[in-house]
Amino acid sequence: MRNPVDKEKRRLLKALSILPLASGVSMVAGSGRALAESCDTSRSLVCIFMAGGADSFNIFVPGGSRYNDYRNSRNELAVPESEILEVSDAQQGSFGFHSRLPTLKSLYDEQRLAVVSNTGTLIQPTTKSDFLGTVALPQALFAHNTQQKLWQTGAGIVTGSTSFGWGGAVSDHAQTCNGNTPVAPAFSMGGTTDWLESANSNYVSLNADIAVERMSGFNNISDWIPTSRLSRVGPSLESLIAQGQASGNTLMSRAIANSVGRASDATTELHSALAANTLSNIAFNSSNKLAKQLHLVARLIASREQLGMQKQVFFVQMGGWDTHSDQLERQPDLFDGFNEAISTYQQAIDGLNLASSVTSFTASDFGRTLSSNGNGTDHGWGGHSFVFGGAVDGGRIVGDTPNYASTNNEDDAGEADGSFAGRIIPKISVNQYAATLSRWMGVSDADLANALPDLRNFTETDLGFMRA
């Protein structure tokens, strides 16, 4: 088996001097006992990325007196009160989910879903005067690709060397717990993602639209190559990969060969594990792309034992959230698809009796503007995130919900003259959100400090929404 743990990658990174120097604490494995404890329980973490910048202000809507502020800011794009499924928070009062998201409401009511309010990219706590002043702000705010990257890396800048994802830090910890499994315990069904990038380990990238197939020619697999030849074709294919991986080759040549080798190894291994866990009893809608991705996630979670994985990390992605136009027409479809996918997926996890060991959470490029552009919303900053699963201390809002008003709004990232931008300054940093979830997966404080250097700028490094 070839390198699920990519030693070469680490060696190269060291040579390139882009790995932080080992800070004694983190690199020397702490006490064996602490490691054993953090590895003791099986756990899976699932990132559901809403690509394009989800309008979470229409997913979770304020009630009571704040509803009027919200409606005045949003104008015709506001969710009508008749389309709100009401829930309440012990401290903050009445809120509601969009009526197309009944699954979020039920999970909230069951205290298995928490709303993490007004979260976003931040280098340090930032007020409106900070925003207008000289405080360091996340780089290239309001651009899709940069803000996706900052969400997924927890970094404040997109350039430079802080490019590893905080999911990658979780994946490193999973590797440590799992031992040397044939396949890396980190999976993306949403394509390439910065979230799972790590200095130490790779992740497996699968397309949920098609079955995971083994590669013909390897391991004597082919219905078409005559047997007498097949047994010799495979070793030749292997030789060509090994030649590509030779240390004298260029970085790009080796990277290609490593990719091909990993593809063969991973598909071989996953094919048999998945065949044993079809979860065909769960009716996933095959025209719902997110549902298909989550179905595959559920099957891989069900395959923990076959794959020898105590810990796993997953990244799935749903597109279409960049609702600059026709928001009123597009949102119901987006919400329906999202709700359906979450619903069947959580049912599957419940059915496996694994609810308390699987936590799923949402993330997005940014929140959208509270203000309207006529029939849509533009790129904002802070937005709500949603965490659900049996281990979530749910049924509540984490953090203060923002000011929704279009005048005198201290949360608005507007101009000095007080004009309303509708872009809301986050109160909770991605770093805090990430740290809370990573710690539940067993990542040590020392490793968190490495993965999320800006975490130290925030006093509350655990938001408390995960049960121990």
Binding site: R11, L12, L13, A15, I18, A51, G52, N75, F142, A143, H144, N145, T146, I157, T159, G160, S163, G191, T192, S198, A199, N207, D209, I210, V212, M215, S216, G217, S222, W224, I225, R229, R232, V233, S236, S239, L240, I241, Q243, Q245, A246, S247, G248, T250, L251, M252, S253, A255, I256, A257, V260, A263, G319, H324, S325, S372, N373, G374, G376, G422
Partner: protein, 590 residues
């Protein structure tokens, strides 16, 4: 069958070289991939490679029966390299054509003068407008069969700059418009960037995709502001990029580069791009878009929805108050066009798409100069830029000195090349269109994460700055989509192509799919009489002379285990071609 067979003839110069006994002297300096050691300071260990004539046992000057040696004509090799950059890959025929063209520059001039192969007529004739497959069919037929290869390759590169996508629901349902948009890129491929930028800006397909259509002036009372979508992306993706660039393509200082524009400027441009409606509809508000031309004719201005105030644009320029919708748009596009970043960004895009992922600063600087002035005082001459990109000394000789020169071939280009090189013909019951065994061509993004104008977002299939190693320096955009699933699917597609779908396959008795494209292996079966000749053919066509020696030896040794009768030679071709098309080595274009 015979017609197909005879149409794939080797250029005489290749045949001549293939007939030369491949013993000892190679006559050509074959660049060794990776022989110069690792890159980026990371892989400098163990750079020893067998020299060309060294046998596995360390002796030199072996015999043909144990050592395979390449023997290619230097002109053919360079022609093949050039065609990998300028077309959908070299074939024996195009190598011969290029060698007969006088010079590469002459060939480029000839190519640019060829009639444009369009997609819209076919799509109109065959699609009901919401069926996407026909637009992909004609794109593949043009790509495989039409002579205007340079234009089609450049149009494909442009479609990855000015991105629109079938994955948008409304666009998917307007394939006449999508075809028209693609043809706009083809027609303007060698025209002027400024004109193309305006054609793209006003195209209703872009108007829908980035929601400029029906964008209105602000309504401050109701907190309604203009839509920032097109304003932001035209700056970030189509012209400037995020950061100020010098002419070498560097954003400095590295850890804190200067933004190319501010959020406030995005808002100002958003105000510029107000007041445009579909041309063919009766009103601003109507939801009925079912009129001829709605998605194919340029959008038209409607003054009452335009923001007529002044706007602060780039570099201190102010669009004065009172300009008409069209005047404002033209002022703004001129303003963008004059920004220094544009030439850098567009040059780098073409270089990365056609030649190398990691151009030197000097290469970018030379191309930026051409973009800024084509020699005749014209800024934005795309034809001049394409020509310069392909003829630049770095494009022609960079592989000789820089081990990191080159790029990963895009999956669509790779498949197009294989089909062209192997004279693919549509399956007997495919009605003249091409198909793979599991995917109709409009769905090959499920196999490879790439299909023409079908990317997941306006950020294309991959990002131009993604690196080989996270946080590293060397870029490899296409590596992003070499995922486990994609590699497995494309691998199995090539397996099926070679073992199930050739012109020799007995499709009927196999009860196999009669709609799948067939490749013709017969010319290769002839060459397989001398495995070294077959390997030279692979080396020339698929590696432009750069097939690594150890790979060649592996294929040679494998073929020596098979008999040399017709069935044995067919087996040699099948198995060696399968290895070639699925090996890691073939992904690299040097």
């Amino acid at each position: 069958m015979m017609k197909i067979f005879s149409s794939l003839s080797l250029p005489t110069i290749v045949l001549a070289s293939l007939l030369v006994q491949a013993c000892g002297d190679t006559g050509v300096v074959i660049d060794q991939v990776g022989a110069s050691g690792g890159s980026g300071g990371g892989g400098g260990l163990g750079g020893e490679q067998p020299t060309e004539n060294t046998n596995p046992d360390g002796s030199t000057g072996g015999t043909p029966s144990t050592t395979s040696v390449s023997n290619l004509n230097a002109d053919d090799v360079e022609a093949s390299r050039f065609l990998a950059q300028a077309t959908f890959g070299a074939t024996p025929r195009t190598i011969a054509e290029l060698n007969n063209a006088g010079s590469f520059a002459d060939w480029i001039d000839n190519q640019m003068a060829l009639p444009v192969s369009l997609t819209e007529p076919y799509t109109r004739a065959n699609s009901n407008n919401s069926s996407t497959v026909e637009r992909h069919e004609i794109w593949w037929n043009n790509t495989l069969d039409q002579p205007d290869q340079l234009r089609q390759r450049v149009a494909f590169a442009l479609s990855q700059l000015f991105v629109t996508s079938d994955q948008d629901f409304l666009l998917a349902n307007n394939q006449y418009g999508m075809s028209n948009y693609y043809d706009t890129l083809s027609i303007n491929a060698f025209g002027n960037y400024r004109e193309l930028l305006e054609a793209v800006t006003l195209h209703p397909i872009m108007g829908v995709y980035l929601s400029m259509v029906r964008n209105e002036q602000a309504d401050l009372v109701n907190n309604i502001r203009p839509d920032e979508n097109y304003a932001r992306e035209v700056l970030q993706l189509f012209s400037l990029g995020l950061f100020q660039l010098n002419n070498r393509g560097e954003a400095l200082p590295l850890n804190n580069p200067v933004p190319a524009y501010t959020q406030t400027q995005v808002e100002e441009f958003a105000r510029v791009f107000t007041g445009w409606n579909f041309s063919a509809v009766p009103s601003w508000e109507t939801n009925n878009l079912g009129f001829e031309g709605t998605f194919t004719q340029p959008m038209i201005p409607v003054e009452e929805f335009h923001d007529t105030g002044s706007k602060n644009l780039l570099n201190g320029a102010v669009a004065p108050a009172g300009l008409s919708t069209r005047q404002d748009m033209e002022f703004a596009l001129d303003n963008i066009f004059q920004h220094n970043n544009v030439g850098v960004l567009i040059s780098r895009h073409f270089i990365q798409q056609l030649v190398t992922s990691n151009p030197s600063g000097e290469y970018i600087e030379r191309m930026t100069a051409v973009f800024n002035d084509n020699g005749g005082g014209v800024r934005g001459d795309l034809g001049a830029l394409v020509k310069a990109v392909l003829l630049d000394p770095e494009a022609r000789e960079g592989h000789l000195t820089n081990p990191d020169f080159g790029k990963i071939k895009e999956p669509v280009v790779r498949l197009a090349h294989v089909w062209r090189a192997l004279d693919a013909v549509p399956g007997t019951e495919s009605l003249g269109v091409h198909n793979t065994s599991d995917f109709t061509l409009h769905r090959i993004d499920e196999m490879s994460s790439q299909a023409v104008m079908s990317s997941p977002s306006v950020f294309n299939f991959f990002k131009p700055d993604s690196t080989v190693v996270t946080g590293g320096v060397l870029k490899s955009p296409e590596l992003e989509i070499m995922t486990e699933s994609n590699l497995a699917s494309t691998h199995n597609n090539y397996h099926d192509q070679i073992y199930r779908f050739t012109t020799r396959s007995d499709i009927a008795s196999n009860n196999d799919n009669t709609r799948v494209t067939l490749v013709n292996l017969e010319p290769l079966v002839e060459l397989a009489t001398d495995p070294d000749s077959l390997l030279d053919w692979y080396n020339l066509i698929f590696f432009a002379g750069g097939m690594p020696d150890d790979m060649r030896q592996t294929l040679f040794d494998y073929m020596n285990t098979l008999p040399s009768d017709d069935a044995g030679r067919y087996a040699k071709v099948q198995d060696s071609l399968f290895m070639v098309l699925t090996a890691p080595q073939i992904h690299l274009q040097r």
